[in-house]
């Protein structure tokens, strides 16, 4: 008998708790419109800044930003669990096909630009490389820094996991296609690190290391060295950032060649709460925030 009493008590307690919980949830939904944003790690900081400023202006909006990589964001958008996908690359054919099969029509917004910096350890004597040299380093053709007139030590490659937009972009843009018409792959011994921050950390600690990541991340950092890049042997070496400042002009006019647009994707024509946020991003205020966060605003 005792046991029965206890059981009823426990069950009723659980029920009461559940009622309470659902009650709380309902209340919040009435108060706030929630927009969920997920995707590119490169864009997380920027996206959070937009969200903060936007929420200050509109107290009844709640923008929730998470990272995880462009692929993750796009996958979430296609699964219908997100309002906005941040992506540092254009959607792939494959993803458009999947979207079609789920009757989703992704709508593209260009929201900012980003340059990719190639970074080495501060003790590395090398200051500039051509695009071709960077490519050959990352496909494992060069194995020692002395082949590039550096010091006599092996080259240690650091890269990103294959869900990252930075990885995709670098692979397409820098590694390109080989003689057989297949996209080249990163060398097998490339160490895969989760996130640009971890990569910067690794290169800062590793005298032999070389890595890549958004200029915004590295411009103000003194513990890694950003290489100047030459389009070919004769061209000028252009630095994507100098003295802690991003070199906007070079990225807008394409003289610094490793740059890309950053995108937001929404499902079809977005509803009002999402559209308002997108309008804010594309407004002058939103673009000023881009500059403030060390990314490159859209050319006016």
């Amino acid at each position: 008998m005792k046991l029965n009493k206890k059981l009823t008590l426990v069950i009723s307690a659980i029920l009461v708790g559940l009622v309470f919980l659902t009650g709380c949830k309902k209340k919040e939904e009435v108060e706030k419109t929630i927009v969920s944003v997920k995707g590119s790690d490169t864009m997380v900081n920027l996206s959070q800044k937009w969200a903060e400023t936007y929420m200050k202006k509109n107290p009844n909006a709640s923008i929730q930003v998470t990272g995880g990589g462009s692929g993750t964001g796009v996958a979430a958008l296609l699964n219908g669990t997100m309002d906005i996908a941040n992506s540092s690359r254009e959607l792939k054919e494959k993803e458009y096909e999947i979207a079609k099969s789920k009757s989703i029509t992704p709508k593209e917004f260009k929201v900012a630009l980003d340059g990719i910096a190639v970074i080495v350890n501060t003790t590395n004597p090398i200051n500039e490389l051509t695009i071709a040299q960077v490519r050959d380093i990352f496909i494992g053709k060069y194995l020692n820094w002395k082949e590039l007139s550096g010091s006599d030590s092996p080259i240690v490659l650091y890269g990103r996991e294959n869900s990252s937009g930075t990885y995709e972009f670098f692979k397409e843009h820098v590694l390109g296609k080989d003689e057989r018409g297949e996209t080249r792959d990163f060398a097998n011994n490339t160490q895969v690190l989760q996130g640009t921050a971890a990569l910067g950390e690794a290169v800062a600690h590793d005298l032999k290391g070389i890595g890549y990541g958004g200029v915004g991340y590295f411009a103000a950092r003194t513990d890694v060295k950003i290489l100047k890049i030459k389009a070919d042997e004769q061209a000028l070496a252009i630095a994507p950032a100098q003295d802690g400042k991003v070199n906007y002009e070079a990225i807008w006019n394409g003289t610094y060649s490793i740059s890309r647009y950053l995108y937001c994707y929404t499902n079809g024509t977005p509803d009002k709460k999402v559209q308002d946020f997108m309008d804010f991003i594309l407004s002058k205020e939103g673009q000023d925030l881009v500059k403030q966060m060390e990314y490159i605003p859209l050319p006016q």
């Binding site: 995880g68 993803e95 996209t183 690794a202």
Partner: protein, 336 residues
């Protein structure tokens, strides 16, 4: 950890339940109500036991259902090598895991090598320290100190592996790098050191359980023959508890194979095929963890990841099974 209960005790307990259900001490029949209640409780517990079993079977089914799909488009041989046709029509045989390339390559060889290269050194290190700690706890330490030490060791086992991984990544790797200048800062050896922190407590506490279940008569007999404490430990206790100790090592190895977070953070994740402990490696678990988030559902890559899951599950399942069999044998043997 498993509670070691001699089978004698179990039999006694079962007997008493039987007696109570059928007739009380005064020979009266027990009322129907009580008997029904007993039965209900019995079934309730049986159901709970069954639920655990059902879940395991469901996991098995799900894994295999998803993983077997990998074999539709990827042949078994593709999981071993990929023949790349070069420009001059020669064929180069590649053992690479590269599912996102334009020529998808699914060789599991680098991942299996990477897994072994972190798990085996970790198990060796942990066996040395874990068994020593277990012997100390069971044979040497005074009881008061044991009361304090054993919970401490088990507490150690409960440190979240993310925290361990982070410490190894930030502190361990830097110190190791400054001292030995390995070719890669994050390498298999650093990862296996991190794994050791997880496995040592497991081996230590299971070894201690195994050694303490050895009857005292053996120790007394050994001392009676004039053996010293050390001789007793090395020639009587450890041989007698050998099966228990080896079971704990097998379980530790299984844990090392299945551990994810530490290797993901500290092993560097380069898919090298190597036997050099100072190079980065990539394990099966880290591959699943790193790639599952972004893979599009239903693609070959997705099923290939599940296939890795099947292999992992099978390995750990059999390791646990072997350990369980050994432990059961040991229990039967040590009942005098």
């Amino acid at each position: 950890m498993t509670e070691i209960q001699t089978s004698d005790e179990k039999v006694e307990v079962e007997d008493s339940v039987q007696e109570r259900a059928e007739s009380s001490l005064y020979g009266k029949k027990i009322s129907l109500k009580v008997r029904v209640k007993e039965k209900i409780i019995e079934y309730f517990f049986a159901l709970n036991g069954a639920v655990a079993l059902i879940f395991i079977i469901l996991i098995f089914i799900f894994l295999f259902k998803e993983g077997i799909n990998a074999l539709n488009n990827i042949g078994l041989l593709d999981f071993i090598y990929y023949d790349q046709v070069q420009l001059n029509q020669t064929v180069e045989r590649l053992f690479e895991w590269y599912p996102t390339s334009s020529e998808e390559r699914y060789s599991l060889l680098p991942l299996i090598v990477g897994t072994l290269l972190t798990a085996i050194p970790a198990t060796l290190i942990s066996t040395f320290f874990g068994v020593a700690a277990g012997v100390y706890l069971s044979e040497i330490v005074n009881p008061k100190l044991r009361e304090f030490l054993k919970p401490m060791i088990e507490l150690f086992a409960s440190i979240p592996t993310v925290v361990l991984g982070f410490l190894i990544l930030v502190v361990g790797a830097t110190i190791f790098n400054d001292l030995f200048h390995p070719s890669n800062r994050l390498n298999a050896f650093i990862a296996s050191l991190g794994l050791s922190f997880v496995i040592i407590p497991i081996i230590a506490s299971m070894t201690e359980d195994a050694l303490r279940s050895i009857p005292t008569d053996l120790r007394m007999a050994s001392y009676g023959l004039g053996a010293t404490k050390w001789q007793t430990i090395s020639r009587v206790i450890i041989p007698a508890g050998f099966s228990g100790v080896s079971a704990s090592i097998i379980l530790g190895f299984g844990r090392a194979v299945g551990e994810t977070m530490i290797v993901l953070m500290a092993a560097g994740n380069a898919a090298n095929i190597t036997t050099d402990l100072l190079l980065s490696v990539r394990t099966m678990t880290a591959t699943i963890a790193a790639e599952m988030g972004e893979v599009s559902q239903g693609s070959d890559h997705y099923y290939a990841l599940f296939f890795i899951g099947i292999i992992l599950f099978t390995i750990t399942f059999f390791l646990n099974l072997i350990a369980e069999i050994i432990i059961n044998k040991m229990r039967k043997k040590n009942v005098f």
